[in-house]
């Protein structure tokens, strides 16, 4: 038991680090560029040297790397101050790419995947709807066949990056007269198509990371269908499996280090809060969770390093990480007492508004990519193999499922 790279891993790490150090963009490269342009610049540079989407086959822009090599590459990238590419390309490369890889024809794979890898095109994912979140398969946006096209009407929601995306993957209801999961079909769509209307959603944090996307008589060619008509749920599972892998515990929020520092700075009963035993007990329990997640990821890496599939233990990351960060940010604000209400990053030189930002941001993370409750169901059903809940919508046409509206 140790934390060392194998020989091959160490060699790969050195190769990755050397390339990164020689190719890190400088201020001249990036000055005057928007965040998206910076991301595109860096992604293109990586792609030219085959350091983009390294797990993908070489034919599609990757370098056929192993899972552990991918992790090593990410670790080395994270050590440097580089343009943020994942917030623009994460969905396309992490979800659309693997779905195209599994379900598109050879011509489409050759057409789309290299551009996805190089950041030339940006993709978004249009799954959730006002009537279908945790119950995703309850989505209603309708597609009706018209010659070689499908005509699409309805609304998608929670679409990250819809306003700057070139393409989108989406699931549509092509037959409401059959059971819920059986009437769905999977497509990809040109986001500049006529009839697509994108409206940003303002979140409780004040930021707008997501959009509503309205479809009014949007035409999608049948050639942009992935999988058979009625097979959409099956195709969507490919995408969702990759989503769960990519939405992690989240980083940059309140954590043990920042909260402990705060506890050393503010007082309780005239003494630093860190000396208060109740504060210490809480901090210790959060440390146990934080360390537990870290060492769980080490176990996952060890499995990858041996070429094995990781066990189910990684499914706990988002569930534990999100609620812990929320509780820690809430407690940090308590420690600040009355001053804790103030949220002005510019006036907070020490923490840059970290605790207030976490407090307002984390409720979203507890919902995105599977709510806490859905994650607990997944652990119970897939890991512990407990039976599914009986369902009211099983075996009846989707059009007859009670909707409450």
């Amino acid at each position: 038991m140790d934390f060392e790279d194998s020989k091959a891993e160490a060699a790969f790490r050195l190769e990755a680090r050397t390339w990164l150090e020689n190719n890190i963009p400088d201020d001249n490269d990036l000055s005057g560029l928007s965040n998206l342009q910076r991301a595109k610049f860096w992604q293109a540079k990586k792609a030219a040297a085959r350091w983009a989407c390294i797990r993908w086959p070489e034919a599609y822009g990757g370098r056929d790397a192993t899972a552990i090599e991918h992790v090593i590459w990410q670790q080395e990238e994270a050590k440097l101050d580089l343009p943020n590419t994942s917030s623009f390309f994460g969905i396309g490369q992490g979800m659309a790419g693997p779905t195209l890889m599994a379900w598109a024809n050879e011509e489409d794979k050759a057409r789309f995947l290299p551009d996805l890898a190089s950041g030339e095109t940006v993709w978004c994912q249009l799954f959730s709807e006002p009537a279908g979140g945790s119950d995703l398969a309850a989505l209603r946006t309708k597609a009706v066949k018209d010659g070689d096209d499908w005509i699409v009407n309805g609304q998608k929601i929670w679409t990250s990056g819809a306003h700057y995306s070139d393409w989108g993957i989406l699931v549509l209801r092509t037959d409401p007269t059959v059971a819920k999961h059986k009437g769905l079909t999977y497509f990809y769509v040109d986001m500049k198509s006529e009839g697509i209307d994108i409206k940003p959603i303002k979140q409780i944090s004040g930021a707008s990371d997501f959009n509503e996307v309205y479809f009014t008589n949007v035409r999608i060619p049948d050639s942009q269908r992935l999988g058979d008509v009625g097979q959409g749920w099956h195709v969507a599972l490919t995408t969702l499996m990759n989503e769960r892998a990519s939405i992690g515990a989240g980083s940059g929020g309140a954590d043990f280090k920042s909260l402990k520092r705060l506890a050393q700075q503010v007082n309780i009963d005239g003494k630093p809060a860190i000396e208060d035993s109740a504060v210490r007990a809480k901090l210790a329990s959060w440390y146990v969770e934080e360390a537990g997640l870290k060492y769980t990821s080490y176990r996952t890496l060890s499995a990858l390093s041996k070429g094995e599939l990781p066990g189910p233990e990684n499914s706990i990351g988002k569930l534990v990480g999100a609620r812990k960060t929320q509780d820690m940010s809430s407690f940090a604000i308590d420690l600040l007492e009355q001053q804790g209400v103030q949220w002005d990053a510019e006036l907070d030189a020490e923490y840059n508004g970290l605790f207030q930002l976490s407090y307002m941001g984390i409720p979203g993370l507890r919902i995105a990519g599977g709510t806490d409750e859905i994650m607990a169901n997944i652990i119970a059903e897939r890991v512990l193999e407990l039976p599914q809940e009986p369902r009211m919508d099983k075996g009846i046409p989707f059009s007859e499922v009670p909707t409450g509206s």
């Binding site: 038991m1 934390f3 402990k260 210790a284 607990a376 512990l384 407990l386 809940e389």
Partner: protein, 371 residues
């Protein structure tokens, strides 16, 4: 990254699990819980024959000279089976104390006996309710004899060897002493406890012969270092118990029907069991790190031990109480085994310092820290 047990260690785990499955069924636990026996003696003899008590003792002292990674997988299985044995106090406490601080002649005398299981050891420091203050012990030493009373000593009525924390005669503070319980000045009185599947006793010392263990006046530091090591081993044992609770709850939730369906199909039960799984998984990962730190004598050991200990205390408590809850009324009956683990989880939680003490140690050890 190789943060995993190797094939031989997995093999030892498998062997331990099947051995205990055969020889430490719940009826063996129940026999000690309900009867007058202080421990399962036949089982103990078999465990010693398997060499488990000799695991980390060097070969020159009659041990197997294996690593702590082998010992932790055995510890987990002991916890899983809720074994009614003096394994922890003898292997994690007494053996460790002598290996860490014993003189050559003490090692030569005791380690072969502990390895063979002919001697059973324990550690005694508590003198009454609440935390023990090493600066004001009422157990004292005078001219190589020890006098006083130690409370709730694990396996106090079984042990042939006790490591005792006592005030030194020359006023140099607390030190650790070895006492052979065959001395006529030692009397042990079994006490009634939350967990009768283990023996606990109040031990009286009246001018009992004793030998200094380690340096004089170093008792407190020795004890803390010893408890750090034991905390990792107990964390694995506690984790094993928590895993059994999850397994029992899961099996029951699938078999038991209410309102026309298995209770495991209700989200209230699913989420409870998912939470058990989460706590156990975090505890296991922290126990891994503790095992690595213990095995490599890493400077991170105090932090790693406290993290493993707190995680396992929390996981075992949660799993053992919610296992009863999942079983409903039957879980509260004497007849069901759920009680074993609820008792054991609390007994182990206070054995080498409560969760609160270890939370305190964790924060003290966390500076500076990089998570």
């Amino acid at each position: 990254m190789n943060f995993e047990f190797d094939d031989d260690q997995h093999l030892i785990r498998d062997q331990a699990r099947s051995f205990l499955g055969e020889h430490c069924s719940s009826s063996v636990v129940r026999e000690v819980l309900e009867g007058d026996a202080l421990y399962a003696e036949q089982l103990w003899n078999k465990v010693c024959e398997m060499g488990w008590t000799a695991t980390v003792i060097p070969e020159e002292y009659g041990g197997l000279g294996l690593s702590y990674l082998e010992l932790v997988v055995i510890a987990e299985e002991m916890g899983r089976a809720c074994a009614p044995l003096p394994f922890g106090s003898s292997v994690y406490l007494a053996t460790e104390a002598i290996m860490a601080a014993g003189s050559e002649s003490q090692k030569k005398k005791w380690l072969p006996l502990l390895a063979e299981g002919k001697a059973i050891g324990t550690l005694a420091y508590a003198e009454g309710p609440g935390e023990t203050d090493a600066a004001s012990l009422s157990t004292t030493v005078s001219k190589d004899t020890l006098t006083g009373k130690k409370c709730a000593v694990a396996n106090g009525n079984i042990a042939s060897l006790i490591c005792v924390l006592a005030a030194s005669d020359s006023g140099e503070g607390a030190s650790l002493y070895l006492v052979d319980t065959s001395d006529s000045g030692v009397t042990a009185e079994t006490i009634r406890t939350l967990d009768p599947s283990l023996n606990y006793a109040d031990v009286h010392f009246a001018d009992a012969s004793c030998e200094l263990l380690g340096e004089i006046g170093q008792g407190r530091d020795l004890l803390n270092a010893l408890l750090d090591r034991a905390a990792v081993l107990y964390a694995w044992e506690q984790l094993g118990g928590a895993e059994t609770c999850l397994e029992m709850a899961k099996n029951y939730a699938v078999q038991r029907y209410a309102f026309g369906r298995p209770i495991g199909s209700f989200q209230a039960i699913k989420h409870k069991l998912a939470e058990m799984y989460v706590k156990n998984t975090l505890a296991r990962s922290n126990a891994y790190f503790g095992a690595w730190a213990l095995n490599s004598d890493a400077e991170e050991l105090p932090l790693a031990a406290a993290t493993a200990r707190v995680g396992s205390c929390q996981a075992y408590y949660y799993a053992s109480k919610e296992n009863i809850q999942t079983h409903g009324g039957m879980g509260y009956t004497w007849e069901f085994d759920c009680q074993f683990f609820y008792r054991r989880s609390k007994a182990l939680a206070v054995l080498i310092g409560s969760e609160r003490q270890w939370q305190e140690k964790l924060i003290s050890a966390s500076d500076p820290v990089a998570v």
